[in-house]
Each structure stands twice: as C-alpha cells, then as structure tokens.
C-alpha cells in the first residue's frame, strides 16, 4: 500500500529509474488440459491394468517368429 501518496500505475510502481521496487511474480502458465481419453489411459497405466493392444501383440508375434527362426 502507498498510503498518503497518489496511486501509481502498476508499471510505475514496479519500475522507477530502472530499479525494480516490487517485482511482481510472473503468472504461472496454465496446465495443459488432459483429455478424458488420456486421463482414462493414464488411470489404467497407474493401476497396472493395460492389456497389450492387438497391434502390439501382432508386432511381438512377428518379432518372436524371427527370433525363433534365427535360433533354429
């Protein structure tokens, strides 16, 4: 408060002759919104109940087929 003095504009209050008297805290950037789908997916990960997707299983089957072929 600047009792007894004329009220200064914000910029004048914080910068006089190049000195910062009352540095203002920078506003924090807003947190990125998490979509419900992502939130649900994260919940599943955190609860340890994510079934491998069919695409991942298919990739893994091919990977193991190749490994077995090479080992034979």
């Amino acid at each position: 408060m600047q009792r007894g003095y004329p009220r200064m504009e914000d910029d004048m209050a914080t910068h006089i002759s190049g000195w910062t008297l009352f540095p203002r805290a920078k506003p924090k950037p807003p947190k990125a919104a998490v979509s419900p789908a992502v939130r649900d997916a994260l919940d599943k990960v955190f609860e340890g109940r994510v079934e491998p997707s069919e695409k991942l299983r298919e990739d893994y089957r091919r990977y193991m087929d190749i490994k077995r072929r090479k080992a034979a």
Binding site: V38, L42, V45, P52
Partner: protein, 176 residues
Amino acid sequence: MNLPLDFNSISLRLLADDCPLGGFSCGEKEIDEWVHRRALTRHQGYKARVKTAHDDESGDLLGLYSLTLILERERELRSSDLFKSFIQNGYIPTLHFEYLGVCQTIQNGGLGKYLTLDAIAIFADMAEHTGIPLLTLFPLTERLRAYYGERNFVSYGSNGRMMMSAETAIRLRDGG
C-alpha cells in the same frame, strides 16, 4: 515402398568400436547427428547402450536404437502405488527409449518395428528383475505419436513424452 526385409540375414549386437556409423543416414537430422557424433561415446561411457542391426553378409549398418536411464519428475506423473517405492526427491527412474533409426534405403521394411520390440523385450526383462516401472520415449512427429499410441504408449505430463508400464510389457512377453 520397400520390400519386407529378409530378417534371416540380419543380426543385432551391441555397438562395436569399428561399427561404420559415419555412413549411416535415416533422414532425420537429429538422429543422424546423434549417430555420427555422440552414439559411440555415450555407449562406451555407459551413458546409453546402443544396439545395432547389420546385414550378415556385407556387415552394413541397417539400423540402431539406444536405451538409457533417465529421471522423470514425479509431478509429470500422477502419484501411484506403482511408483511410490521408486520416488526419491521428486524424481522417478525410467528406462528411456532414446533414439531409433533405420537406414533410409530399407525403411518401411519392418526393421523399425523389430528394433522397437527388441527394446520392449529388454524392458520386460529389466522390469522383472529390477522392478523398474516405466519405459518412456519422445516421438519426434505426430505420426509417430499415433503409431506408439496404438501400441500401448500413453502420453503424459507436459514434456511430450509417452510411457508404457512394466505390467504391459511383461504381459506381452508372457502372452497374458
């Protein structure tokens, strides 16, 4: 589109000192620069471990990937019993799938998938033996983000990374 590769003539091994890294090009500037300038020193210094794929006959380098351990901020994740025992001073260790590159001339032949699954298989083994809870990665493009999203990687936090849980990798490996 290239033909599917003959995986019978491709071998994976840990990066060797005499690996011909200089001629490698996957077309992604960041990855190529890393391969040419940093891959060997990081591998030799155990700051990351690099695995390479070679043609058995010619010895040509066809592709490679690297894994490393990073500390992820707890606040990027959500508090969970899954990780509680790992959190130290606000950080949690994760296995990070750092770089993956496939030689331009053989892209779309399946080697990228093969290398990715090799990394996931290593993660599953590590998770079983050490309990490390997450595999993380940072997709360089939105197309890759969608690709990994279809394969159980979930976007999290504000840093653009994605993660897969140890449970998923172990279930995948064990057929559960």
